[in-house]
Symmetry: C2
Subunit: 459 residues, 2 copies
C-alpha cells in the first residue's frame, strides 16, 4: 500500500512536472509572439487615428464595428457575427464655455458636459455657487441654501490611495448622482471636480444619471478640470457671492441600432463550453479612447492572433466579444447575456480588459473560493513576466451581466497610476499607450485564457 | 522546559506581531506622506525645467550642485557638504547632421554623437557603409572589407525580453566598444543603432570608449535613431554602394572640478553605521534627464523629507548622496568610496535609484544569501503597495565601488517597459515622469531604508 502511494505520488508529481514544463513553454511562446509578432498596436493605431472617438450611436462607433468585424474576419475565426443592440445616442454639440464671474473679472475655466446631461439655455446659465464635498453636506445645507444655486462638488480623489481605482470609487458618486441630488433641493446646475488625481487643465466627462427625477426637473451638469476646481474653490473663499456662468448645447436623441462584434473559434473538445475575452468598442467622445477601451478591444483580438501564431487550438469555444455601449448604458453587455440565456449557452469563463493599456500586474477575479485558489496557484507561471497580483474583486462591467452557473470572471489588472490622467478626457489618445505595455497585457490575457482552457474550472 | 519554550515562543511571536504591526503602521505613514505631502515632484520640476541638462562639467551640472545643496540645507540634515571630484568635460558642439547618399538622393537621418567621441573633419565624413550585427561578424569581415568604411552596428535590442534592461545589456556592447573594434580594423567612423526598443526618430546618446587605442586612431562615432537605422539598412540592401555622410563637432576638454552633494543625518544609536541612499546628479546633454536620473536624485532627497514629516529618527546615520558623473566616468562614485576608505567609514547599506521614475515594482539586491533571505522576508510588508519583486542582481553603478565588509546594496526596480523610450534621448523630459509613480518610488525607498534601519543587516 505504502509503495503504491509512493509510486502514485511519484507519477502524479512526474506528471505535474511535465505538465508545468509544457505550460511554461507555451506561456513563453505566447509572450514572445505578442512582443515580436503582434497586430494589436497597429489595430489601435487604426481605431484611434483613423476612426477616432466612438461614443455609442456616433459615426465613429459604427465605423469601429465595421473595422473590427473586417479585421476579425482576417484572423481565421469559425465565424464573426454582429449582435444587434439598441443604444442611447447623446451628442455633446458645441464646445462648452464657462467663466468664473468674480467682481469685474471674467475668468475662463475648462469644463465639459457630463454624458446624458441636458443643455443649458442657449444664452447659458449664471448663478451663485455653493461648494460641497459630499451629499451629507449638501443635505445638511438643505433647500434654503441650495435653491437657484449651482452646486459645485469638489471632493478630490484621495491621493493616498495606492490603487487609483479605489480613489475613483471614493469620489465618483459626485459625478454620477450629483445632478439628481442637487436638483432635488432646487439647484439650477452642478459643476463636478474632474475624476483626476493630478492637477491639470483637462475636464473629464463620464456617465451621470438623473435617476427617477421627472424630466422637468433635470438640470445641466458638467465637469471642471482639477485646476479649474482649485481656482473656483479659492475664488469662493475670497468672494462667496461670485457667480459662475456655463453654456452647453448637448442633446439626447432616440435610441439607435448598433452592434456587439463577436468572433468565435469553436472548441475542439468542449465546443459547448464558452470562454469570452473582451473589451468595449465604444468610448467617450472627447478623444480616441485609446486606453478606455481601445486597448482592451485590440488586446482581446490579439489573444486569438497569438493562439493562431503559436498554433494553439483551444479545447473550449473562444469568443472575442467587443461590447457596445459600456460607457453610457451597458446595453451591449446586457444584450450579450440576454442572447446567451435565450440560446441556453454555457459560459465557463469571461475575461475583460477595461482598465487601460498599461503594464499588466495581474488579475482581479470574481468566482468561488475553490476557483480563486486554483487560479491563484497559476501565479508561479506568471512570475517570470512580472505578474504577481491575483486578487478577488470586480472583473469587468461588460461581463458583469453573465450568469452561467459556476462561471469564473476575471479582469486584467494593469498598473493603475496613470489611468485617471487620461480617463474620459481629451488626452486619452494613441500616444498615451506604450506598444510593449499593450502587448504584455495581451500576452497576459492569452496566458490565462490558455491555462483555463487547459485546466478547466471547478464546479 | 517545554512550558518555557512555549512561553518564549508566545513572547517571541507576540513581540513579532507587535513589531510587524508597528512596521506596517510606519510604512503606511511613509506612503501617505509621499503621496500627499512630498517635495520630489517640485524638485524635479526645478531640476528639469529651471536647470535642464546636467552633463558633467557643464553649467547645468554646477547649477544642480548649488540647487540641491541649498534644498537639502532646508531639510534639517545635521550637515550638508560637497565632495570635490575631478570630472571629464565633453561638449557636443553644433547639432550633428547626417545623410544617406543613395544615387542622386540625399536623405536626412537623425543622429547624435556618442559621449566621448571625437569630431569629424569640419567638412564632415563620407564613406561607404558596412552593416554588421555583432563583433563576430565584424571580425569575420576583417580589415579588407572594413578599411576606410563606416561600420554600421544594427543589432536591435531584443523585443522578446520581458525586462527592458536585459534587452539593453544584450545590445549595448555595440555602442560602448563599437568604435574601438571598428577602428582596429581600419574603419573611418561608426554609426550605432540607438538603444531603443521602439521605432521612432530620437537618436540616443551614451558612453563609448576607445579603450587602449592610441589617440591617433580614434574615429568619430554616433548613434542613429531606430527609424533611421531601419531606413539605412533597407537602403543598403537595395544599394550596397551607397555612402553615408555625417558631421559632428564634439570636443573633449581637460577635466574640471565638480562635486558630489551629500546630506547627512546622524544616527541616534549607531552613528558609525552609515546607510546611503542616492542617485546621480549628472545627466546626458540632450534633455533634462528627468528619468535618468533626476528621478533618483529627488526620490533620495524625498526619503529624508518623509522621515522628517512622519517624525522618524533613524538609529543609523543616513546619507543622501547625489553622485556626479555616473554617465561618462563614474568619478563621483569612485571618489565617494575613496573618501569612505580614507575615513575608515563603515557602510552597512546603500540604495540607489537609477532606473527611471516609473511605478516601483521591487528591489534588486547585491548581498550575501542570509541578507537576501532576510530582506526578501520583508516582501509581505510591501504587498499592499504592489511591490512584489525581490531579486538578486545589479544594484546601482554609483554605489558599485563601495566595499565595506557585509554591506548590502540595493537598487530600486521600477517598471522598465518605457525606460528605453527616453533613455539618453531628447525626450527624457519632465512630462515623461508621472507624479504619483515618482512618489510611490520614493516611498518604496523610504520603507526599505526604514526597515533596514530598524532591523540591521546580518554579518
Amino acid at each position: 500500500m505504502k509503495k503504491t502511494i509512493i509510486l502514485a505520488l511519484f507519477l502524479f508529481n512526474g506528471f505535474a512536472l511535465f505538465a508545468q514544463t509544457k505550460e511554461e513553454q507555451t506561456i513563453k511562446e505566447i509572450y514572445k509572439s505578442s512582443l515580436t509578432n503582434s497586430k494589436c498596436y497597429t489595430w489601435l493605431d487604426d481605431l484611434s487615428n483613423k476612426i477616432g472617438s466612438r461614443l455609442s450611436g456616433s459615426a465613429g462607433a459604427e465605423k469601429a464595428v465595421i473595422y473590427t468585424k473586417a479585421e476579425m474576419e482576417k484572423l481565421g475565426f469559425d465565424r464573426v457575427f454582429l449582435q444587434e443592440v439598441m443604444v442611447p445616442k447623446w451628442v455633446r454639440g458645441e464646445k462648452e464655455t464657462a467663466y468664473i464671474l468674480d467682481k469685474k473679472n471674467r475668468i475662463s475655466v475648462p469644463i465639459c458636459a457630463l454624458g446624458g446631461s441636458i443643455a443649458t439655455a442657449k444664452s447659458g446659465l449664471t448663478a451663485e455657487v455653493v461648494e460641497v464635498k459630499s451629499f451629507e453636506e449638501l443635505t445638511a445645507l438643505g433647500k434654503d441654501k441650495i435653491k437657484d444655486k449651482i452646486v459645485f462638488y469638489n471632493r478630490p480623489m484621495e491621493n493616498e490611495q495606492i490603487e487609483s481605482f479605489h480613489a475613483y470609487s471614493g469620489a465618483v458618486d459626485q459625478r454620477y448622482a450629483g445632478a439628481q441630488k442637487a436638483a432635488e433641493l432646487g439647484a439650477v446646475g452642478t459643476i463636478v471636480r474632474s475624476m483626476n488625481l493630478r492637477l491639470d487643465d483637462f475636464p473629464h466627462t463620464g456617465a451621470q444619471s438623473y435617476g427617477d427625477l421627472p424630466k422637468s426637473q433635470y438640470i445641466p451638469t458638467a465637469a471642471i478640470s482639477t485646476n479649474g476646481a482649485e481656482l473656483l474653490s479659492k475664488s469662493l473663499k475670497n468672494n462667496p457671492k461670485l457667480t459662475f456662468y456655463f453654456k452647453q448645447s448637448c442633446q439626447q436623441f432616440d435610441d439607435v441600432l448598433s452592434y456587439n462584434v463577436v468572433g468565435e473559434l469553436k472548441g475542439s473538445e468542449n465546443p459547448d463550453n464558452i470562454m469570452v475575452v473582451g473589451g468595449h468598442l465604444d468610448s467617450w467622445d472627447l478623444a480616441d479612447g485609446s486606453h478606455d477601451d481601445g486597448a482592451g478591444v485590440v488586446q482581446s483580438m490579439e489573444v486569438v492572433n497569438i493562439f493562431k501564431n503559436i498554433g494553439y487550438k483551444p479545447k473550449n469555444t473562444i469568443r472575442v466579444v467587443l461590447f457596445m455601449n459600456e460607457e453610457n448604458g451597458l446595453r451591449g453587455g446586457n444584450k450579450y447575456e440576454e442572447l446567451a440565456q435565450a440560446n441556453n449557452e454555457n459560459h465557463i469563463f469571461a475575461l475583460e480588459s477595461d482598465s487601460g493599456g498599461f503594464s499588466p500586474r495581474g488579475f482581479s477575479l470574481e468566482c468561488n473560493e475553490a476557483n480563486f485558489q486554483k487560479i491563484s496557484s497559476f501565479s508561479k507561471l506568471f512570475e517570470p513576466y512580472l505578474i504577481h497580483s491575483f486578487v478577488e474583486g470586480h472583473s469587468g462591467s461588460d461581463i458583469g451581466p453573465l450568469t452561467s452557473k459556476n462561471i469564473v470572471k476575471a479582469g486584467l489588472k494593469p498598473d493603475s497610476q496613470r489611468y485617471f490622467d487620461y480617463h474620459h478626457a481629451a488626452n486619452d489618445k494613441f500616444d498615451a499607450v506604450d506598444k510593449r505595455e499593450l502587448e504584455l497585457g495581451a500576452a497576459t490575457m492569452a496566458s490565462l485564457m490558455y491555462l483555463i482552457d487547459q485546466n478547466g474550472i471547478l464546479k
